[in-house]
Symmetry: C2
Subunit: 284 residues, 2 copies
């Protein structure tokens, strides 16, 4: 993997291979911070743009509020994104992910640490977008409903404490699966480690209620645009059997956008008749 | 808070105020790494020592294995600890915590990041050791038993993804409590965000089974030494009512060692008749 571009909140680029962060930064020693990730590509006029830019800045601010971090410097993150977009070679890499990161700063006191990274969408991710993903269902150990009512469990925040999400993806990969959907102890489908599940049940698109799971901006985009295309999208409790007997399913995320679920623990899923239309909606 | 001392695995000290870590280190952007924390003080011959040094290095290695990180450089962490101990002013600060940190390294590839930090035990922590702590019980959203059987949830690992633990402590502090004990959805007492619960029930010391919670080295120390003092220590499932009707309780941790629980959500607990003996055992 090539090293990402790095920008600071004053709008300057920095060499990512040079250390930026103190050893005692709470983002390191406690995973105590937040991030957000957005897709960057060429806009209609050829300039680089960040998809749903304001919505990502809004979500970063919501995540920071949940962790009781200072409000993110919105103008500063804007300058950092502009610097990255200006430096990016969209001819060589037409799509990239920009990550905004904010930590609580050094444990012994000091300002929060903030920066933005930009890396190309990998060939593997583009292949998953085109060809779909095999998934495995893994227990998440907690119910979304219960977590939603316990703010100290940080429901709905994109915190930097993602080691379990990464471990679940490794676990799946080692067993030959591309991705994961988490299941609650009560048998409800929740979300992927870095994605949101959408299921086609008889032409209706259904997605798990966002209790204790992350509010997906790609889903928000879909929900806003789908009715105009005559497609209903609704929150509904889903169990594995609903997925296995569905007319197709997808994982949504900001970078990969959409990946069809080709199989669930080895059982093949059909490609939904709505696949083309859903992609058309999300690509706008 | 004063800035900690920082040592690298080659045995040199470094200035902690200078950046050490890349912005794209997985320890930062994913909380993807492990740590361990040990108490440092003067040994019998006046030299600085790390309490249960080998046990902490062993647990760091177990945590790394659970996260499928490379095996920690044991000799290197030993050199780092020696450098910290040699540089520490034990006259000015008789007790300190040494933290060993290992991350997966830069996302785009490269070696793991490893270092050790040493900071004084704060006056507040020393006061808690002497005077005890008020606690509040907070839901953890998951059962230890269930998590224990799901390796992708990283049971038993001290990962760097501690944002929930930190949030629970903030939540408690804002409501006037010193610390937290987590409770499972089934109503079982689990552990503190950075400590282990021990309860005196009629002269027997009981602690929750270590399923899906962290194996405490201070507890291990107690379990090894208590029988010689005629005290039984056993794993047993405990509910809030068992704590509230107990003859006393403590939170154990490597730095604070032991803090008596003075109250649970406002209900006072007695000081256990075994308090002095337990401290004598743990202080050795």
């Amino acid at each position: 993997m090539t090293a990402p571009l790095l920008a600071l909140l004053d709008g300057t680029l920095a060499d990512v291979t040079h250390p930026l962060i103190r050893a005692d930064d709470l983002g390191v020693v406690r995973g105590d911070g937040v991030f957000d990730a957005a897709l960057a590509r060429r806009g209609p006029d050829g300039e680089g743009i960040v998809r749903d830019r304001d919505a990502h800045l809004d979500r970063l601010a919501r995540s920071a509020a949940i962790l009781q971090l200072p409000e993110p410097d919105r103008a500063g993150f804007g300058r950092a994104m502009d610097a990255l977009l200006a430096a990016w070679d969209f001819d060589a890499q037409p799509e990239a992910v920009i990550r905004l990161v904010l930590t609580r700063g050094p444990e012994s006191g000091g300002d929060p640490t903030a920066f933005a990274l930009m890396a190309p969408i990998s060939v593997g991710v583009l292949r998953e977008r085109a060809e779909g993903v095999s998934i495995t269902l893994l227990g998440r150990g907690h119910d979304g409903d219960e977590v939603a009512s316990m703010p100290w469990l940080l429901p709905g925040a994109k915190s930097l404490s993602y080691s379990i999400n990464m471990a679940a993806k490794r676990h799946a990969a080692q067993r030959g699966f591309d991705d994961v959907v988490f299941v609650s102890p009560a048998g409800q489908l929740l979300e992927g480690p870095t994605s949101t599940l959408v299921v086609d049940r008889g032409g209706r698109l259904l997605t798990p209620p966002q209790d204790g799971i992350l509010a997906s901006l790609t889903l928000e985009h879909l929900m806003a645009a789908a009715p105009g295309a005559g497609i209903e999208v609704a929150f509904e409790r889903l169990e594995p059997a609903d997925l296995l007997s569905s007319d197709g399913a997808w994982l949504l995320s900001s970078g990969r956008l959409v990946a069809a679920v080709t199989s669930v623990d080895g059982t093949e899923l059909p490609r939904s008749p709505l696949d083309t239309e859903l992609r058309r909606i999300l690509e706008v």
